[in-house]
């Protein structure tokens, strides 16, 4: 398997790995299944509609780990919305994800939305 430079960088040195301590404004979402080979979890901490901290865990392939790490890093300081900070199609191109792995990007999206939607509801 060939990985592009961005994928290698975020797979080899992913920041934002871990979990946030639960509390007000902290939301967790997960998707996938370890037994099926791909599982992703995001923890989001929101204040006044803005993402202040993001952490992730991933039992997954290098592409999935790299995309999750990149999303966690890039989204801090942005408004929490009911969509990914970047579309699945753009993520596919940015990380050169093979077409056979597109389903894994959708798992990332599902995990993100599972955390973001309650956060939006909380913020009102």
């Amino acid at each position: 398997m060939i990985y592009n430079e961005l994928t290698r960088r975020y797979f080899e040195s992913p920041a934002s790995v871990g979990e946030l301590v639960s509390g007000p404004g902290v939301f967790r979402g997960a998707a996938g299944n370890r037994e099926q080979g791909t599982w992703v979890q995001f923890d989001l901490r929101c204040e006044s509609g803005t993402l202040r901290a993001v952490r992730f865990l991933a039992f997954a392939c290098p592409h999935t780990i790299a995309v999750s790490a990149w999303l966690a890093e890039q989204s801090v300081g942005r408004a929490v919305t009911a969509v990914l900070p970047e579309s699945v199609a753009d993520l596919r191109d940015r990380f050169a994800v093979p077409v056979e792995k597109m389903g894994r990007l959708l798992i990332i999206e599902d995990a993100w939305l599972a955390a973001a939607v309650p956060a939006i509801d909380y913020e009102g």
Partner: protein
């Protein structure tokens, strides 16, 4: 700059994939080069009308004797092939074709090499019936399983000696006895992984056909052999309802065009390849028991180091395996990520067949009852003559660091256990 030189990274990873292939022994390479550069040894071994042919023929026969001596066979039982894959194909299709009127049933196991399984699948497509035996969780077959699978129309049993993924050694002598009692099933053994790793004596195992390879034994790629027993005392035909008679195994050839190799494998012999295999087998047979002990110590060191990581499972019987091979699964780690972190540092085989973007779990480990996830997150370490303690320590250090990192990213319980152990 050559293509290979362009591909070579500044620092090559530690080579721990000797079960896949071995570097050519320098003495073998030198002898092969001598033949290739010789003014007198380039003849066609089948040319009986001049000295060039006679010289090449003598070299080929010397190599045949070297291979035969290394595995307890007679020279006349060695049929040169292009490798173990061709030898397996010749054995399976050769028996099926020759005995097609007597029966169309074959017995093999689910953990055989693809070079046995794929010919069997092809025969199924052509109307043969194949029984695939399932080994126990250690990868071992019970000879009684073979006995129970035999039918009146069984013409072939094909069971490997040393498994190429997990290193487990099957009790071939007992399987041979089962086939002999049956009186109609010939026994083929894929022994590509056996030579130089464990005792192997063709004549005393009750085997009719045995596949060998040169490149697993520090010889060249592109050459192998099928041993075809010349014993004429094999009881055959008893399953037809009669008392049977004594005879020897017969094969139909796959290649036609010159009658070489007792008309079983047509084609001009590659003298330098054959000579390389002969010398490689002679050298393998002379390997001292100290070398075997050295490799066994390295394997023990590797296993102890990996086991200390935690959440590492050994695949295959530890009691009944060669010391040159260790297969383990890592809990809480995804297979493709495991390969990605290991690849820059270690040349090992993974439990996945990466024939596409999505890996397929090892069918051998699945046959042992391992889950898909554990089958994918497995590594096969092949130790050999060039392996050192430093190589082993590097492997343990790399895996300890990287598996811990992947488990931390995955948030798996084993990571927390490992972290707790590390913290203490």
């Amino acid at each position: 700059m050559t293509a290979a030189a362009q591909m070579k990274p500044a620092s090559m990873p530690v080579y721990l994939d000797h079960a896949s292939t071995t570097p050519v022994d320098a003495r073998v390479a030198a002898r092969m080069a001598e033949v290739l550069n010789s003014d007198t040894e380039f003849g066609n071994p089948a040319s009986a009308s001049h000295d060039y042919g006679d010289i090449a023929h003598a070299l080929v026969e010397q190599a045949r004797a070297q291979v035969a001596a290394a595995v307890g066979a007679a020279s006349g039982e060695v049929i040169w092939t292009s490798g173990a894959t061709e030898a397996n194909n010749l054995a399976i299709f050769g028996i099926a074709q020759y005995y097609r009127e007597r029966g169309r049933h074959i017995v093999t196991s689910r953990t055989e090499h693809k070079a046995v399984l794929d010919p069997c699948r092809e025969l199924e497509r052509r109307g043969w019936r194949v029984t695939y035996l399932v080994p126990d969780r250690d990868g071992l077959l019970d000879p009684d399983q073979v006995a129970a699978a035999l039918r009146p129309d069984t013409v072939l049993v094909s069971i490997m000696h040393v498994n190429n993924e997990i290193g487990v050694v099957q009790n071939i002598g007992a399987v041979g006895a089962v086939c002999a009692r049956h009186g109609g099933a010939w026994l083929h053994v894929d022994a590509a992984q056996s030579v130089g790793k464990c005792p192997l004596h063709f004549a005393s195992l009750g085997v009719d056909l045995m596949s060998l390879s040169a490149h697993k034994v520090y010889g060249p790629k592109g050459v192998g052999a099928l041993l075809v027993s010349q014993r004429g005392d094999r009881l055959v035909g008893r399953v037809q309802g009669g008392l049977g008679h004594r005879g020897r195994v017969q094969l139909a050839p796959l290649l036609f065009g010159g009658g070489q190799e007792q008309a079983l494998r047509a084609g001009t012999l590659p003298t330098h390849q054959v000579i390389g295999m002969g010398l490689a087998f002679e050298l393998a047979a002379s390997i001292s028991s100290l070398e075997t002990v050295r490799v066994a110590q390295l394997q023990r060191r590797l296993w102890q180091g990996l086991a200390s990581i935690g959440g590492v499972l050994r695949n295959g019987s530890a009691m009944h395996s060669v010391p040159h091979l260790l297969n383990v699964s890592f809990e809480g780690v995804e297979g493709e990520s495991l390969l990605a972190v290991v690849r820059p540092h270690l040349a090992v085989s993974t439990g996945s067949a990466c024939t596409s973007a999505l890996a397929q779990p090892s069918y051998v480990l699945r046959a042992l009852g391992r889950s898909e996830r554990l089958s994918e997150s497995s590594l096969r370490f092949g130790l050999g003559r060039t392996t050192t303690e430093r190589d082993i320590d590097t492997a343990v250090a790399v895996l300890s660091r990287e598996v811990g990192r992947l488990r931390e990213i995955a948030g798996t319980r084993a990571a927390k256990v490992a972290a707790a152990v590390a913290a203490t």
